[in-house]
Amino acid sequence: MQLIPAISRGRGLGLAGVVGVTALLEVVVRTGLLPQAWFPPPSRILPAFGEIVAAGELFGPLGQTLQGWVLGILAAAAVGVPLGVLIGSWPLTHRLTRFTLEFLRPIPPVALIPAAVLIFGSDLEMKVFLIAFGAFWPVLLQTVYGVHDVDPTARDAARCYGLGPRAVLVRITLPSALPHLATGLRIASAIGLILAVTSEIVVGAPGLGVRITDAQSAGGAEDVMYAWILAAGLLGWALNGALHAAERRVLHWHPSYRGGVR
């Protein structure tokens, strides 16, 4: 009963924010703060976007980008979460992997594109590798931080009740690390999308990024280019919304989601 107005209020505010910023952008471009000739105002980008959608052109590239993203994130999570838990809860693994991970982590995924192209070719596999590599780190790090953040009293309680290390992991450590992991996944999701589009732009793997470069190299098609950029943004926004909704369900008990207390 009470939820419905709250949600629609949230939507209304969000909508107001979107409209406000769009209007601001329109004004900024029209008043010449941004050169209109090179940066089309929203009133030109939106129709161009509409055309892409109406012509059904949007969905092919969108699907290709999405596919790479999903596979990459899954791969990153499949490796990052177990490793993060291991490193976070077992000091020896931490010490063993410290240098290696700290050295590999800052290597920009984009710098690995040539090697990735060599090993995986220029399409989906390469994209998935890059995304997995980039998304792996936030998942790993946030998992480690989450594992470190478990309330010691809660963990002690579990251990006293005869929960073995595995049970402590599943019942105590993972749930309390979940808020961190959720943040990690949201960051990973954004990085994954960035890398999907970047690899498409740089290597030409099929997807939204290629459409951006195509429009860019056509000349005079700035509105189409920005329409594709908009599509990339919208995709990220939708992905994030989905993650957020899932998070809200799973983390309803967390202080940041508890309703009606304050």
Binding site: V18, L104, R105
Partner: protein, 262 residues
């Protein structure tokens, strides 16, 4: 004490040394043009980066990276705190921010070039744009997750809002903020490279890309290794700072003081 430290370092070094040896052995037998043996990469590294290119390429890169990183942390913490405190504001800005966050920074290079020109401004902008999100997200979560009892305490003692913020909310959120800042550091280094792929005339990323385009593979790997070292160094400094700032958190979660049975 010193012996323990040496053992620790030896342990940490074991894995990387093993990996490197394995790579070298493979590279020598495989003779792949794109994967030269370590000696070749090492020689190039010594010739280029010790220290001829340090003032011309390394320092400008690091300068831009630090500037962008500092801005990203400042903006991320400020905005994240605001959004963490005000549900209304976070509802209003959420869709716009999620959209911006989802935009792949490489796709925004045109806009940044338009607004900031081909100088350092555009590059710093790009770094900020990518690195701000982990800080922002973690700050929002950290601020929202502050213990309700602690907050009530401060409110009941009429600790003014600004002091609640600086003395309670931010310190309590600090573990989360630092987790975000650490991820952001890695992203800042990635974007330092990305930003130098377009419109640059110096920098580590620029050098790597030039080497890659010129098929100077040992130089490309030498640059990649430098990026790894750079990230490693930055991270080591970060961890040292974190240890000092968060000593209480380490102790509370049972990772610093006294024998606790794992």
């Amino acid at each position: 004490m010193i012996r323990a430290r040496l053992a620790d370092a030896a342990l940490a070094l074991a894995l990387p040394v093993l990996l490197l040896a394995a790579y070298d052995g493979w590279a020598r037998t495989a003779g792949n043009f794109f994967f030269p043996p370590l000696s070749e990469i090492g020689a190039t590294f010594a010739a280029e980066w010790l220290f001829t290119r340090v003032p011309t390429d390394l320092l400008p890169s690091v300068g831009r990276m630090l500037a962008g990183y500092a801005l990203a942390v400042a903006i991320g913490v400020a905005l994240g705190t605001l959004l963490g405190l005000s549900r209304t504001l976070s509802r209003a800005l959420d869709p716009v921010l999620q959209f911006l966050r989802a935009l792949p920074p490489p796709a925004l290079i045109p806009v940044s070039l338009l607004v900031f020109g081909a100088g350092d401004g555009a590059k710093v902008f790009l770094i900020v744009l990518g690195a701000v999100w982990p800080v922002l997200l973690n700050t929002v979560d950290g601020v929202r997750g502050v213990d309700a009892t602690a907050l009530d305490m401060a409110r009941s003692y009429r600790v003014p809002a600004h002091a609640r913020l600086t003395r309670l909310i931010l310190p309590a959120a600090l573990p989360r903020i630092l987790a975000g800042a650490r991820t952001a550091l890695a992203i800042a280094i990635i974007l330092m490279v990305v930003s130098e792929l377009v419109g640059a005339d110096n920098g580590v990323g620029y050098t790597v890309q030039l080497a890659q385009r010129g098929f100077d593979i040992p130089e490309m790997w030498a640059g990649t290794v430098l990026l790894g070292l750079l990230g490693f160094g930055c991270n080591a400094i970060f961890v040292a700072v974190e240890r000092r700032v968060l000593h209480w958190h380490l102790a509370v979660t049972g990772r610093a003081t006294h024998a606790r049975r794992p």
